[in-house]
Every structure is written in C-alpha cells, then in structure tokens.
C-alpha cells in the first residue's frame, strides 16, 4: 500500500478534535501556557455538549479573566470585584430556567469576594461557581494572595510565605465543602490530559446539578 501522507490524514472526515464553536476566534490575551485558556475551553465544550449555548449566562470577575466575554460566544455579565456570586444569584432568581455560572480567580473569589462566595454558597443558590486558583495575584504582577501556599514565593514574599507572620493559606474550597447547602465541591487541575478530562467531567456535573435544581 502506498505510504500515507499527512495531507491524506488531514481531511475534514478524519477530524476527531477541534476547538468548539462556543468559543470565538479571538486570540486570548493570556500568557503562554496559562490554564485560563484551557478552563475557558472546557466550560465552552460542556455548554456545547449540553446544548445550552443560548440558555447560559456567565458572570466574569475582575482579574486576568475579566475579558472572558471576548472568548465565549454566550451572554455574559461583568461584576464588580468579588461580587460575581451576588450578581449570579440575582440573575438566577430572576431567570431560574437559565444556567448561571461565575468564573473567578482566587483574588476575586477568596480575597475581596470572600463574603459573597461564602454567603451565596451558604444560601444554597442554584448556580455554578468556577474558581480558578493559581495562589497569586497574576494580573498585578505576582503578589502574595490569601491562597498563596506556605513557603510559596511571590514578589511580596520573595523568601516564601512565612505562616508565622503572614498566616496560613485560605483553603476556601474546603471551607465551602462544610456548608450543608452546598451540593458539589471539587478541586481539579488542567495540567495533564487526564486531569483536563476529569476537570471537564466536574464542570459538566456542576451544570447538570443546576438543571436538577441542586445547585
């Protein structure tokens, strides 16, 4: 048999994976290798698979991912810093048949927005919160955040976080998991193919819970 050339393989009928149409063609402003791009795409893929593109409303944070609305082809609302869960609560209560999610970094969710996060979870709002935690303030230049791990270096703690003077990292995921009204909390990563698949399954489950009214 004649040797197969690359052009014989790269044909529309052989396509097994390409970027979902729920994402726009805009080039993302994130630094090379940043997990925001991957996480955006997972959210978009789940929205496509569930067929809820015109029924989903996202709430974006302040931080690097503030421009998420440029990359996902769905309705999105920008919130004041840390207030995304409050906005999402309002949207969901006014339009209960919509799928409402927030997408927040750790500076937004676990620092300035800690109160909104904890109280919306404690009320058991039927929304999905996607929390992207890099343990640092990336957009402003790499300063220490409440979530910075013990010993982890940042520009404001160049010798690593010292828990005696700077306190322990705030494990907000574990805190939220204690609340009786919270149905599903999980921590995932997107740095290997296997973890990307698991993270996607988790996002899908979170959206499905919303459909079943389970938050």
């Amino acid at each position: 048999m004649a040797e197969l050339t690359i052009n014989d393989i790269i044909k529309e009928e052989n396509l097994v994976y390409k970027k979902t149409k729920v994402m726009t063609d805009n080039v993302m402003h994130y630094c090379p290798g940043c997990g925001h791009g991957t996480t955006h795409r997972l959210v978009a893929e789940v929205i496509e698979e569930l067929g809820i593109q015109d029924k989903t409303i996202g709430v974006t944070p302040v931080g690097c991912s503030v421009l998420m609305y440029n990359y996902l082809d769905i309705d999105m609302q920008e919130a004041a810093h840390g207030r995304a869960p409050a906005i999402a609560t309002a949207i969901k209560r006014v339009m209960p048949d919509k799928f409402v999610f927030t997408y927040q970094g750790d500076g937004d969710l676990a620092a300035i927005g800690t109160a909104e996060t904890i109280h919306s979870c404690n009320r058991g709002e039927n929304i999905t919160i996607i929390f992207v935690n890099n343990g640092i303030y990336g957009m402003t230049g790499g300063q220490m955040a409440p979530t910075t791990l013990a010993g982890m270096k940042a520009v404001t703690c160049p010798r690593g976080r010292d828990v005696n003077t700077m306190g322990y990292p705030l494990h907000i995921t574990e805190l939220i998991a204690q609340l009786p009204n919270v149905r599903f909390v999980t921590r995932q990563s997107v740095h290997t193919p296997a973890n990307v698949r698991k993270a996607k399954a988790a996002i899908r489950k979170a959206f499905e819970n919303q459909k079943d009214g389970k938050g």
Binding site: M1, L4, I6, D8, I9, I10, K11, N14, L15, V16, Y17, K18, K19, M23, V27, M28, Y30, C31, P32, G33, C34, G35, H36, G37, T38, R41, V190, H191, T192, P193, V196, R197
Partner: protein, 75 residues
C-alpha cells in the same frame, strides 16, 4: 493489522509556543520550530509525524485551542 495514523494541524499564527502540548504527547511527536510566527513565538509543529496516533492529548491541554486532530485507520 489495523493501525491508527493521526495528524495534527496547528494554527501556527495563534500558537504561543508554551510547550504544554509537547509534554502531553505520549509519542513525542511535537516540537517547537526554530522559526517564529508573527508574534515572535517558536510555534509547535510535528517533528515526527509518523508516530502520531491521533489521541488528541495535545489538543485538549493546549490553552489556546490551536490544535485540530485528525485520525484514520490503516489496514
């Protein structure tokens, strides 16, 4: 014996040369080019195209979603 052959298409102008895909590929197919794209990044290409099995591992970890994957069964 049926064999799987794969190939990837990289949108080289949008690739940021982050190398995340290189580490994700189980077959060591990918590498960064010596040349750069319009943004000045060494973009990703198939160094060893014969080895690709079309598993899409590279595409699902690519933060910028610039990889499309194709796969055929060869008898």
């Amino acid at each position: 014996m049926a064999k799987i052959r794969g190939a990837v298409k990289v949108d080289t102008e949008k690739c940021k040369g982050c190398s995340v895909c290189l580490g994700a590929c189980p077959m060591g197919v990918l590498d960064l080019a010596k040349e750069v794209n319009g943004k000045g990044y060494n973009y990703c290409y198939m160094k060893d195209p014969e080895k690709c099995i079309g598993c899409a591992s590279c595409a699902i970890v690519c933060p910028d979603g610039v990889i499309s994957v194709y796969k055929v069964k060869v008898d």
